[in-house]
């Protein structure tokens, strides 16, 4: 039987792996799969060390032979098939773990490629001085260098007081950190390193009062000095990181309020301020909030009320509500695709188009987690990538181009799953509470995927040359 053939036109958007001369349409056997195509491109590139490639046809990764693809999509082998190639994601490698005294809720990274270092008007970031901050259930903020050393530490818990777990920690700039958690306070810290960058100090600068329950998340936008907060009191807060711009703190919420005689505290020496606005519309705990990456006047929030809401910050109004079927815990924006990813107790990640013109609620569902999704972060190298941290003890890396379609619509499967190093080699399925839930995840181009877990560790994994460079 004669093997059928097809013409393919190869292309890539990554300059470092593009072919020097356009070879034009190439005739190949339709029996070829990803691996054979990858070998072909490496031959054309005359690569000394073969690079594994993935192939995109009509925006979806090739997961079958070309023949099966043509049949499944009803495409004639007479056509010239446009085939885009990208570097395959290399499994992120385990690099290090930072040990804590209690479960770790949240992490953030400061590097030359992190958002906080690209802010203006602050001390420039020194390459090679990457830092990781962690927020822990013991109420302690820790600053780590890449040698697993704590170089600064600050506690927010009071002796005999309630638990003050730090639910969210964020670098606002290389010298400022915002934290929040179970004590209902957003704290701004000044962060300064000594001349040799061996030790550093954390100085409380501002305390923001206005929420009446756990503050689950803060988002920061350094150029506008704006902070967003998501609280279990059903509201989203808008705040200024500058004490001079902020209204007075609501007296009834301060620890010195007459009602709180059980834990009398000294009058705080830090300035205490209140919110610029409190946004009401959610009907249950708000669990996460973000600025849209390209427009800091628009915010998203997700809630235990199952909804994703879009907010216009200058007018403090809710401009859109999208309902899902379950409690939501986390959100991240995918601006190039006009999508917002949300994750929660349905154990999946749902991609939502929040624009008015969108007709369906869910554009795509990413499936594979066996526990609640606690945290989401976008891929710094790819507009199509994101990572999710789950109660099942894994971080899953997704590329939305890796998808299939079933009766419920477009379904994505993860390209890689990162296990906890602390549970390595165990075959027993872990359930929530068995010690490995991932509560927080951050993905930095330079540092890698940094995750915070119930195993009392921050774990760092790095994929070498994931997608390599920026597309043009």
């Amino acid at each position: 039987m004669a093997e059928s053939q097809i013409r393919i036109q190869l292309s890539t958007r990554y300059p470092d792996i593009s072919l020097r001369e356009n070879p034009g349409p190439i005739v190949v056997n339709t029996s070829l799969r990803r691996y054979a195509l990858s070998t072909l491109v490496n031959t054309l590139l005359e690569s000394e060390k073969p690079v594994p490639f993935e192939f995109l046809i009509n925006g979806t990764f090739l997961r079958t032979s070309l023949d099966e693809y043509l049949t499944a999509n009803g495409i004639s082998s007479e056509t010239t098939l446009a085939v885009e190639y990208v570097r395959a994601i290399i499994p992120p490698l385990y690099l290090a773990s930072f040990e804590h005294d209690d479960w770790v809720c949240s992490v953030d990274v400061l590097s030359e490629t992190s958002p906080a270092a690209s802010g203006t008007g602050n001390a420039a970031f020194k390459p090679g001085q990457e830092r990781i901050i962690s927020g822990c259930y013991d109420g302690v903020l820790r600053v780590w260098n890449m040698s697993s050393e704590i170089i600064a530490i600050a506690s927010t818990s009071r002796e005999g007081g309630p638990i003050s777990a730090l639910k969210s920690v964020k670098f606002l700039s290389p010298t400022q950190i915002a934290t929040c958690g179970m004590d209902r306070v957003i704290r701004m810290w000044d962060y300064t390193e000594d001349a040799e960058n061996l030790t550093a100090s954390l100085t409380p600068r501002l305390e923001l009062y206005g929420h009446r329950n756990v503050i689950a998340s803060v988002a920061v936008h350094q150029p506008s000095s704006r902070i967003l907060s998501a609280s279990w009191d059903h509201t989203v807060g808008i705040w200024s990181s500058k004490a001079s711009d902020a209204p007075p703190a609501p007296g009834e919420l301060l620890p010195s309020h007459r009602g709180s005689k059980r834990h009398k505290s000294e009058p705080s020496i830090n300035p205490q301020r209140g919110p610029l606005a409190i946004l009401r519309s959610h009907t249950a705990a708000v669990t996460d909030t973000i600025f849209t990456p390209n427009d800091h006047t628009v915010a998203y929030s997700v809630s235990q009320d199952h909804t994703l809401k879009t907010w216009d910050i200058p007018t403090s109004t809710c401009v859109d509500t999208r309902s899902t079927t379950a409690v939501l815990n986390a959100t991240v924006s995918m601006p190039a695709l006009n999508l917002v990813a949300v994750g929660g107790t349905a154990r999946n990640v749902t991609l939502i188009d929040p624009r008015d013109s969108a007709t369906s609620v869910s554009a795509m569902t990413l499936r594979g987690h066996k526990g609640w999704v606690w945290s989401l972060a976008s891929d710094p190298d790819s507009a199509y990538g994101l990572v999710s941290g789950s109660a099942d003890g894994t971080c899953r890396v997704w590329d939305v181009r890796s998808s299939t379609t079933d009766k419920s619509g477009k379904v994505g499967t993860s390209v890689y799953s990162i296990e906890r190093e602390s549970a390595k080699g165990e075959t027993l399925r872990r359930e929530g509470g068995d010690g490995v839930q991932v509560f927080g995840v951050c993905w930095d181009q330079k540092v890698g995927i940094v995750s915070a877990s119930e195993d009392k560790r921050v774990q760092i994994n790095r994929g070498q040359g994931i997608f390599g460079g920026n597309p043009v």
Partner: protein
């Protein structure tokens, strides 16, 4: 030839009755010894538990992290924990041995305002107690409500009072002003009703036939249900009269719950049966459900609008049911078994000792003799 089975109405498939809990999402580890009781707070974010180690603990529901604990007793088990309804004040009630405690756990929604309101609600009765003494009713007083001592006060415990026998059940009226307790060994003082704002304890049921097992307030009417070993009696609280004697036919009732609509109740028994009663239909069970190999210890309806109920058994499992009450008087409730939840270890013949539902979500929690609590979603 007609197959008689084909004439029976078909039960809907569990798949079509989603959502309901199907798997363990979180385990709560920390109690030493059996967990006897647990309850989710009115906001749905905190779980309270109590057990043989004499402690009451509060956990973050989603993560399973413990956020607060207090040791009430060194030698007695905490047999029951129940939150007072409402979110204006935060009051958790618990019983250890013969003592009942009201406390304000240090959780994140206990703002200075809410803390003050909580103390106000718990303290309102001190003045009344003083009047009580003057009006010479003190010799009739069943018990004295007191401050629990400086150690416990420092931990957030607001009030304590003692009853004559071990308290096994606490049940709150929906408005948070009254709660009832049951001391099964207490004979004429087995059932007590407490008025929070007056720190007043009364014993309205002096002549119960058989040891009391459990009590419930009707969700909307001034009706009170009292379960003894074999019967459940309903009383009109305003007229002080017996309304009905419900006869489940069980040899030993362990627990029961009233449907939020008020016209149906479900009864669990140590003799492995679950009995659904339609109070408008009959004093006999409308349906008998046998799904467990061992005693059933607890049964609860979802209170947040989902047609779900569940029971907990010494065989180590929970059984989740669909239970839809039909508004039409001519039609009966539809009851469909949905899912068996397994995971708790059986310890010394004991399995799952208590359960509760989330106020909104199709989630339940269970207390195990294995020392763990679990969240099922």
């Amino acid at each position: 030839n007609i197959d008689p089975e084909s004439l029976l109405p078909k039960l809907p498939s569990p798949e079509d009755l989603r959502p309901f809990p199907t798997m363990c999402a979180t385990k709560f580890l920390g109690h030493a010894g059996r967990v006897r009781s647990l309850a989710i707070d009115p906001t749905g974010n905190w779980l309270a538990s109590g057990g043989d180690d004499g402690t009451v603990r509060v956990w973050e529901l989603g993560s399973g992290h413990q956020v607060w604990s207090v040791r009430l007793e060194k030698t007695e088990a905490v047999n029951v924990v129940r939150w007072r309804p409402g979110t204006d004040a935060i009051i958790l009630s618990a019983a250890a041995g013969e003592d009942v405690y009201l406390m304000s756990p240090q959780i994140a929604n206990l703002t200075p305002e809410v803390a003050a309101k909580s103390r106000e609600v718990a303290d309102a009765g001190w003045g009344y107690a003083a009047n009580d003494v003057k009006s010479k009713t003190r010799k009739e007083a069943v018990t004295q409500w007191v401050r629990p001592g400086s150690r416990l006060e420092g931990e957030g415990v607001l009030v304590r009072f003692g009853l004559r026998k071990t308290v096994k059940v606490i049940s709150w009226h929906r408005r948070g002003e009254y709660f009832a307790t049951v001391s099964p060994q207490g004979q004429t003082s087995a059932v007590a009703i407490h008025t929070l704002s007056k720190h007043l304890t009364q014993l309205p049921f002096r002549k119960l036939k058989g040891p009391a097992q459990s009590v419930q307030f009707h969700p909307s009417k001034p009706i009170f249900f009292v379960a003894t070993q074999r019967m459940i009696r309903s009383y009109d609280l305003s007229k002080q009269e017996l309304l009905k004697i419900i006869q489940p036919g069980a040899r030993w009732i362990s627990s029961f719950d009233v449907h939020p609509g008020g016209d149906n109740l479900v009864v669990s028994s140590y003799d492995k049966r679950l009995l659904w009663h339609d109070l408008e239909l009959s004093v006999r069970p409308y349906k008998t459900l046998r799904y467990h190999k061992k005693a059933i210890r607890a049964v609860k309806f979802h209170q947040g609008g989902l047609p779900l109920f569940a029971d907990a058994s010494d065989d180590g499992s929970l059984q989740i049911f669909h239970g839809k009450v039909v508004e039409d008087m001519m039609e009966n409730a539809s009851i469909v078994p949905l899912k068996v939840l397994r995971g708790h270890q059986i310890k010394k013949e004991l399995g799952v000792l208590d359960l509760d539902w989330h106020p909104r979500e199709p989630w339940c929690v269970s207390a195990g003799a294995d020392g763990t609590c679990r969240l099922w979603t």
